[in-house]
Structure formats: structure tokens, C-alpha cells
């Protein structure tokens, strides 16, 4: 297939990923389509187990080798299909072109290497620099994220969670990537630190002019820093559009449920409202629309036939039989 649009930095087509565990097959991602323009920040939202991390790892091709399998799809990046790249070519793309910040900063650094060495390793892999310059550059990266350069020879256990995440961010940005994937970069941190790290990422994104995929549970974060948003449910994207359009005019029952579950600021709510029903069993997804057992709008067709995507307004895509806003479906 020929890749035509020059504007798109990333274009995922029909991606399906499975995990094989204990003789069962988990369909973590099924026939997912998603694209990202240069300079765009995309929010990638969905509850736990939706397949967000799996999608991200597929882009970098660092899924755990034994249990996982990409069963279909193409991942076009800068006009090239990453899934056809050799191991060596992928190694040159990782870190340099596409870089990632992982979910848990506590465990994502090597415990026996100094933070300086870990940043140097990243830079050294993609730039042939003398040792001294590597170190200098690593120190500069630390300063960029608000860590004193004197701490370059400290080990990860000497840093707090928020600082570790800063180190990870410094590392991820050290080769000036075109695309940064941030996998819930703040979930493991406490609220004040969350705000600081987000602010930092916002500034760095502007400064480095890169595209970004921000994976999160938090619609507030998306509103704050993203241009567009993709809502994921049970391995597929159910709604996609610009943040403005989706927030003002969401059309999918699951998106509605997500917005309903946000605690409002004026009510002094102790508990988060949760979406009714259980998250689907990934080894045995419901037939038809996977959301139908929990969907208040579900009709008889929903259990039988998986809905196709349709555009409710230009660039705003929904995967649902019904039209929440218009009332009638488009069967």
C-alpha cells in the first residue's frame, strides 16, 4: 500500500495485537486505526486494560516477545512501515525518532547504574560523541528537567518518584525525538508532583516541537495539553476527534460514561463515580459492540453486529450504532 499523506507523522492501520497466556488468547488490540499529524499532541484515553500500553509498545516494537503477537496491521511512521523494518533499523529509530516515557517511574530505571550513565547510554547510541561531551549533554538534560547537575552520579534509589520521572523525561528527550509517547507519566505520582511534571512536559513539548501521544485515564490532562483525543475501549478506538469537538459534542455512550465519572469540582465528592458494569474479559470479548453489556443505549443490533466507524462531523469519528445526539441510528 502506498503512503500518500505527507502531513501524517504516524499512521496506524488495522493493528491487531494478541497475548497468549496460559493457553488463552487475549485480544488486546483489534483492528485499530489511528493517526497523528506532525506537531500534534494526541490524548489516548481509556480504562485499565483497554490496550493503550500495548498499542504504544507496538509502535516501538518492544512488546514482550514470548506472549505477544501482532496479527495484522501496518504502522506507518514518516512514510515507512515500521512493522517491516529490520531489528537493526528499529534500533536506530528507537530513542532517536520515537521515544517513550513509561507508566511507572519507580521501576523504569536500571537500579545499578547512575542516572548520568543511563542518559549517556541513550545519547551515545545515537550520536558519536566523546565521553566528556556525552556527560556534559547528560548534565544539561538533567538541568532541563530541573535536577541539579551535581546529581549526575547518583543512583535511581537516591531520587524521589517525581524526580525519577524527571530523569526518565530527560532521557526520553535527550535525542530530540520526533515523537514522544508518554504512558501515564503522572499516574504514579502524587497530585502536586503531577502538576509540576505536566507543566514541565508542556514546556518541553513546546521547546522541542515534537509530536506527542499522551496516554492517560485523566480527561482533565487531555483538555489541558492535547489537540486531539482518541477514546479506547476493549482494544479499539470508539471515538476520535479534536479535543474541542469531542469535549463539546461527544457521541459515544462510553465517552459519555467517562465524562460522567469525572467528579465535579463543586460537589465535595469522596468517591469517584465508576462506570456501571464490569470491564470486559479480554480473553472473551462480548459479541457485536464490546460495550453493549454496559451500554444504557444498547439495542438488539448491538449484541449482534460490531458497529462500523462513521464521521459525525468532519474529523470526528464514532464507532456506535446509535446517534446519541440525533436520536436515530444509521443502520
Amino acid at each position: 500500500m502506498e503512503h500518500t499523506s505527507n502531513e501524517k507523522l504516524l499512521d496506524i492501520r488495522d493493528l491487531s495485537v494478541e497475548y497468549h497466556s496460559n493457553g488463552k488468547i487475549v485480544k488486546a488490540v483489534s483492528n485499530l486505526n489511528l493517526s497523528l499529524k506532525k506537531g500534534e499532541t494526541l490524548g489516548f484515553v481509556g480504562e485499565t486494560g483497554a490496550g493503550k500500553t500495548t498499542t504504544a509498545l507496538s509502535i516501538l516494537r518492544i512488546l514482550p516477545e514470548l506472549p505477544s503477537r501482532i496479527t495484522s496491521g501496518e504502522i506507518w511512521f514518516n512514510g515507512e512501515n515500521l512493522l517491516l523494518k529490520s531489528k537493526k533499523e528499529m534500533q536506530q529509530i528507537r530513542g532517536k525518532e520515537i521515544s517513550m516515557i513509561f507508566q511507572d517511574p519507580m521501576t523504569s530505571l536500571d537500579p545499578v547504574a547512575t542516572v548520568g550513565k543511563q542518559i549517556e547510554e541513550m545519547i551515545g547510541l545515537h550520536e558519536k560523541l566523546p565521553k566528556k561531551e556525552l556527560r556534559e549533554k547528560a548534565a544539561q538534560m538533567l538541568e532541563q528537567v530541573g535536577i541539579k547537575r551535581e546529581r549526575i552520579d547518583d543512583y535511581p534509589h537516591q531520587f524521589s518518584g517525581g524526580m525519577k520521572q524527571r530523569v526518565v523525561i530527560a532521557m526520553a528527550l535527550s535525542c530530540n525525538p520526533n515523537l514522544l509517547i508518554a504512558d501515564e507519566p503522572t499516574t504514579a505520582l502524587n497530585v502536586t508532583i503531577q502538576a509540576q511534571v505536566l507543566e514541565l512536559m508542556k514546556n518541553l513539548k513546546r521547546q522541542y516541537q515534537m509530536s506527542m501521544i499522551m496516554i492517560t485515564h485523566d480527561l482533565g490532562i487531555v483538555a489541558e495539553i492535547c489537540d486531539s483525543v482518541a477514546i479506547m475501549y476493549a482494544g479499539n478506538i470508539v471515538e476520535y476527534g479534536t479535543v474541542e469537538r469531542v469535549y463539546e459534542n461527544f457521541c459515544h455512550p462510553y465517552t459519555e460514561a467517562l465524562f460522567d465519572s469525572i467528579p465535579s469540582l463543586d460537589e465535595d465528592q469522596e468517591e469517584l463515580k465508576v462506570i456501571a458494569g464490569l470491564t470486559p474479559d479480554p480473553t472473551n470479548l462480548p459479541s457485536g459492540c464490546p460495550f453493549h453489556p454496559r451500554c444504557p443505549y444498547a439495542g438488539p443490533e448491538c449484541a449482534q453486529q460490531a458497529p462500523e466507524v462513521r464521521e459525525t462531523e468532519p474529523g470526528h469519528i464514532v464507532r456506535c450504532h446509535k446517534d446519541l445526539k440525533g436520536g436515530s441510528g444509521n443502520e
Partner: protein, 309 residues
Amino acid sequence: MFKYIIKRLLMLIPILLVVTFVIFTLLYITPGDPAKMILGQTATEEAVAELRAELGLDQPFLIQYLNYMKDLIFHFDIGTSYTTGQPVIDEIMNCLPATLKLALSSILIAVVVGVPIGVISAVKQYSIFDNIVMVLGLAGISMPVFWLGLLLIILFSVRLGILPASGYSTWQQMILPAVTLSAQSIAVVARMTRSSMLEEIRKDYIRTVRMKGQTEMRITIFHGLRNALIPIVTVIGTQFGSLLGGAVMCETIFSIPGIGRLMVDSIKTRNFPIVQGGVLFIAIGFALVNLLVDIIYAFLDPKIKAQYK
């Protein structure tokens, strides 16, 4: 760090006190009279009694022990051999090089062979290689030293005639005993390396390094193995201890004049000072290896290093 080492060395003293006391007690209650063994079955009662008095064996147990400790602590004297009249320390020093050579070459083989096998097994988990290694490993652990030694002698010395079956001065002579003695340790080291590696290579930070674009080879060695080393070093340390024990059997089979054989001979002739001295040496060796392992920990794990300061 330096302070820590001194502290650990001082802690050796109570350990050695306990060791000497236990071995002294064990030998005291061992049946068989050394004086009779020295003089032979035909000796008269008076001659035996005289020798017992001369050796101090007629004294009560506690006095014997205190005399021994007095000599040990104040004169660094651990007695003289009943049979040769030589100082025990000299006899042991004569035998030490052979044992050290055997034990060191065995542990070297165990590390050089066991660690790479374990790493490959872990990286290629469930592969044919991994399965074969695991079966062989089980065989290696359950195979008695004397049996393996005899098998190797029959194959390589008797049938093929390519390796000598005894002696210890040339490296050819060292091959069979060292391989025999290391078989178990290879298996133990390989299994520990495998399980420790399996744990490490699944951890999140490995994924981070992969994200950087690092090659699999370097990820495995400089991050995976590097982090997996602590349990591996621990098991190498304990293996070294059990090698000293295994050396007794191995030295006997291959006629190597090491401490192991010296002690077996001395037990047969009730030459107690030699046995005590030998045990003391092995205990010290064991303790020093443990100390070395603990020091290595500090270099391997920055968290441990921070505690030592």
C-alpha cells in the same frame, strides 16, 4: 567500607571459637585411642598410658580444650602431628597449594561454563537448548563426585588414554579432578544464573533500555546480567565452600596430596591435631570467602554500598 571489613574480621573470632569447640568435642567423643593407634595393637598398657600422659590425653576434656586454645591464641600454635612429630601448621601448609589449586580451578570452570549457559538458557527460555541444559543440570546436581570421577577416569585415562588419572602438578593432570569437582557447581551456578536472569529480563527497566535502541546483546549483558549478579555471586561463594568439602573425595580418587586427603588419613589414624587444624583452616577459608562475597555485593549494588558507609 574499610571499617566494615575490620568489623567482619573481628566477628571471625567468636565464629572460630565455636568451630574449634565443636570439632574438639566431636573428636573427644570419637571412639578409638590415638595412643593405641600410634603404638600399634601390640603395645603394653604402660606404654600407652605413658604416651597418653605425654600427649595430654589423660587430662579432663575442658583442660585439654583450654590448653589447646591457650597455645592457639598466645603462640599461634595448633599442635604437632601425632604421627610425624611435625608442627600441624607445616603439614597443612604443605597440602594447601594442591587443594587451593583444585578448588580455584573448579570454581573457575563453574563460573566460566555455568554463567554463560544460564544466561543463554534464560534468554532462550523453553528452547531446546534450555530444556537440555535443565535436564543435564539436574543430572549434574544429583551425580556423586566419586562416581563421576571414576567414570571420567575410565573414559579419558583408561579407554582413551588422553588424560592422566592422578597427580596435580601439570595442567593436564588438573583437568579430570577439576572437571569432576566442578560438575555440581556448574549445574548449580547455571541454574541460579538462569532463574536470576529470567527475573531480571522481565523487569521494566529492561524495556526502557530497549526503548533507547540498545542491542539485545548489550541489554542482556550490561543490564540483565549485571543486575542478576547478586544471587549468582552468592551461590558461587557457597559453592566454593562445598567445593572444599567435595575436595576430600576428589583428592582421594585422583591421589592429590591436598588437605582433604590429609584429613581423611588423619581421621583413620586418630591424628587429632591435624584434623582440628584442617577444620580450622577450612572454617577460616569459608569465612573469608563469605566476607569477600559481602564486599563484592557492595560493588554490585549501590544500595548495599550506601549501607556500609
